[in-house]
Amino acid sequence: MKNIKRAFSVIIVFFFILAGTSIAFAHFGVILPSDDIVTPKDSKTIQLDIKFMHPMEGSYMEMAKPKKFGVLIRGSEVKNLTPKIQAKKTKSPEQQKEFTYWSLSYSIKKPGDYVFFVEPQPYWEPAEDKFIVHYTKVCVNAMGMETGWDAKINLPIEIIPLTRPYGIWTGNVFRGQVLLNGKPAPFIEVEVEYLNPSKGPNKVHPPADPFITQVIKTDANGVFTYAMPKAGWWGFAALADAPWKLKYNGQEKNVEIGGVFWVHTVDMK
C-alpha cells in the first residue's frame, strides 16, 4: 500500500513537471538574419535561419520543411525562395538530440526593405492537443532606402509594424497592429520573448516563470505596444485559433495560428 502511494505521488509530481513545462514554454516561429541593416559597406549576402523554438530557453523543436519561404521587396515585389532553403541541425546545450532547422544565404540586389516570411507546416503539439502554425516575418533594410517595412504579405494572421522594425534602441517601444484575415484583431494575446543567448554576459536568468514569456493584449484596434528592456532579438507572437481544423490520427484537432514578428534592439552608446 505504501509503495503504491509512493508510486502515485511520483506520477503526480511527474505530471506537474510536464504540465509546468508546457505552460512555461511558449513556441515561436523564428527567422533570424545575420544582419538587419545592410549598408553599402556591408556584405550584400546575408544568412537567414528559419527555426521553431522556445526563444528564452533557447531550445529547439523539430521543423519540417516550410510550405513557403519568401521575401517581399520594397512592398511590391514577391520572390518565392522555398527551393533555396536547406536543412541544418542544431540543439541547445541542455538538449540531448539535434533538431532540424532551415537556412539559406540570400544576396541583396537593390536598396529597400526586404520583408522575409515563412509559412511552416503545421506542428503537432501533444502537450496542448493542437497544431501550431506560426507565420513569421522579419525585416532587413538595405542601403538606406526605408520603403516597404509596413507592407502586408496577406497571411492568415499577421503583425503590421507601426514602429519601423529596424534601427531600434534598447528601451524603445515596438508597436504593431495584428490583422486576422486582413482585419484588425481586438483584444487578442500577443506573447513576447527575448532570444536568450545560451551563454555570455547577455544571458538572462528569469527569476520566475511569468518572466519567460511576456503577455500583452491588443487594444480595440488590434494594436499592441511593448518596451524592450535589453539589446538583442525580440519576438512578438499574436495568437488566435484558426477557423479550420486539422486531423491527427483521424481526429479533428484545433489549430493555433500565430503571426510572429522579430525585431533587433541595440544599446545606446
Binding site: 553599402p40 520594397r74 537593390k110 536598396p111 542601403m143 538606406g144 532606402m145 526605408e146 520603403t147 516597404g148
Partner: protein, 111 residues
C-alpha cells in the same frame, strides 16, 4: 540702389529661411549601383524611398578621373555602359542643397 540691395538681401534671407526646414527635415540621399550584362545600373533616392529626380551623377575611375556624367530620370535611375578597362568605379550623386553621396563598385562588383 541701396533700397534694391536691401530688398535683395531680405529676399535672400527669406529664401534661406524657407529652405532651412526642408534641409533639416530631409533625409540622407543615397546612390546604389550594380552591374548586369555589361551595363551599370544606378538608383538615387532619399531615405524614405523618394527618387532623386534630375540629380547629377558623376562617374570616376580608380585614378579618380571623371569618365562620364549624367542626370537621373524621374524614377531616380541612371544607366550607362560598363566602361572598358577599369578596376573600380566611384559613382557620386549630387541632389543639390548639399545632398551628396557616393557608391563604390569594386573589381568583384564589375564582373
Amino acid at each position: 540702389m541701396n533700397k534694391m540691395g536691401g530688398f535683395l538681401l531680405a529676399s535672400l534671407i527669406f529664401v534661406g529661411i524657407s529652405l532651412l526646414p526642408s534641409l533639416a527635415a530631409a533625409h540622407n540621399v543615397q546612390v546604389f549601383a550594380y552591374v548586369e550584362d555589361g551595363k551599370v545600373y544606378t538608383e538615387s533616392y532619399f531615405a524614405d524611398g523618394t527618387p532623386v529626380k534630375n540629380g547629377q551623377i558623376k562617374v570616376f575611375n580608380e585614378k579618380n578621373e571623371e569618365i562620364l556624367e549624367g542626370k537621373t530620370k524621374e524614377d531616380g535611375t541612371f544607366t550607362f555602359a560598363l566602361p572598358q578597362g577599369v578596376n573600380s568605379l566611384r559613382i557620386t550623386i549630387n541632389a543639390g542643397m548639399g545632398h551628396k553621396s557616393e557608391y563604390i563598385l569594386k573589381k568583384d562588383d564589375l564582373q
